[in-house]
Symmetry: C2
Subunit: 221 residues, 2 copies
Amino acid sequence: MTLSEKAYSAIRRDIIQGVLAADQPLRMADLSARYDMGFSPLREALSRLQVERLVIAEALRGFRVAPLSIDEMQDAISTRILVESDALRLSIRHGNDDWSAGIVAALYALKLQVDRAASGAVGVWEIESRHYAFHRALLAACPSPWRLEFFERLYAATERYRIPILVASRTPSGSGRDIQGEHSALADSVLARDAETAVRLLADHYNKTALMIRDRMDAAA
Amino acid sequence: MTLSEKAYSAIRRDIIQGVLAADQPLRMADLSARYDMGFSPLREALSRLQVERLVIAEALRGFRVAPLSIDEMQDAISTRILVESDALRLSIRHGNDDWSAGIVAALYALKLQVDRAASGAVGVWEIESRHYAFHRALLAACPSPWRLEFFERLYAATERYRIPILVASRTPSGSGRDIQGEHSALADSVLARDAETAVRLLADHYNKTALMIRDRMDAAA
DNA sequence: GCAAGCAGGATTTTCGAAAATAATGGAATT
DNA sequence: AATTCCATTATTTTCGAAAATCCTGCTTGC
């Protein structure tokens, strides 16, 4: 693995997790010290992240972490619903037994980690990566690379907004919302190949998240 | 404008136009000579194009132009229909008079250039940029940056497949297809705010293009 | 005859410094 | 007091060379 790729993963994760705060300027000298490498691999990583809209670049004025806004969040979530609804229909149409088994496995692994988190010391990132794996498993049989690409992009964009909520309320159920239940119901309808119900549950799931994020951002402001 | 940005635009255009052929390896030394700059800005440009799927990177083995395939083309077009249909509905809902005027202007400018091309010496790129401008104008009132972003990405991806057709048959009507007529009808229904018709015409327009490309690629193979 | 191993060359990747540009702060002027 | 100008500093951007890695074709050993 090259340094460029390491820099890309590391900076990407740090932005999504909020370690590098929104709007924060990214000075080459600082990054070089923090990630222990020269300018070249860092600039390459930042160039890639710029296309993904996780960083903003201004010519001769360097890079900074992309800002967060309610409008952008709402846009990302509504676009997610558009793209993932279609991808989920395709996935349900094309999925085989391996696909079904993958969903069951991912849901179970997520539940294990959430339970573990409720009772103590598990990092947010460990839950988050299984949450991603679950949603990715639902779409695993979608035969369209472009739709999956857009899913990845939008997942990363919305993850930035969800992380602060997870950090605040370590027990996801503490928000008066049964997220694991939503995931189960969604998985059930997908496994039953009931595309219409699945798409409806998926949209509900995301819209509820959008509402929670919006409340929190309003409260913060 | 920095060299990085120049490199990005130049390489991007050369890939889309086919000046840099599909699957062709992109050697740093060659690129450095061709674009008259050092490695750093070139690598940054290539990193960005990698995210856009116009180039493929393999660690320690450099970059190459992304390959073309019928499957990828079909996928890009079907995803375009998904995204642009939705974006077009939103645009129709939100568009004001400036938006309408922009569509009329773009359609007219495109027609001028197509007529000019039929009677002689106008480059493919001059038509192509107005074709892009027309489709962009239709979506100009769409308030969703993410949908517009995906439109840009998919437009670039499909443009690579369309260019060889345009080069072969310099008069677009030579293909037994009245493309200008399709554009007019599409613009009319959009200006009349008839979203259902517009979305249908848009999908037809793209599916016809997909068929033409498919025929040509089958013939070539 | 054929596979494995190894030099030599080609190529990518990375670094550190130089060049170019922007930001800062103070002095001079209105 | 406010503004413009200039010098200084801070920062980004770019280059050219060094380091690391991969590819090629030969040799060696079986």
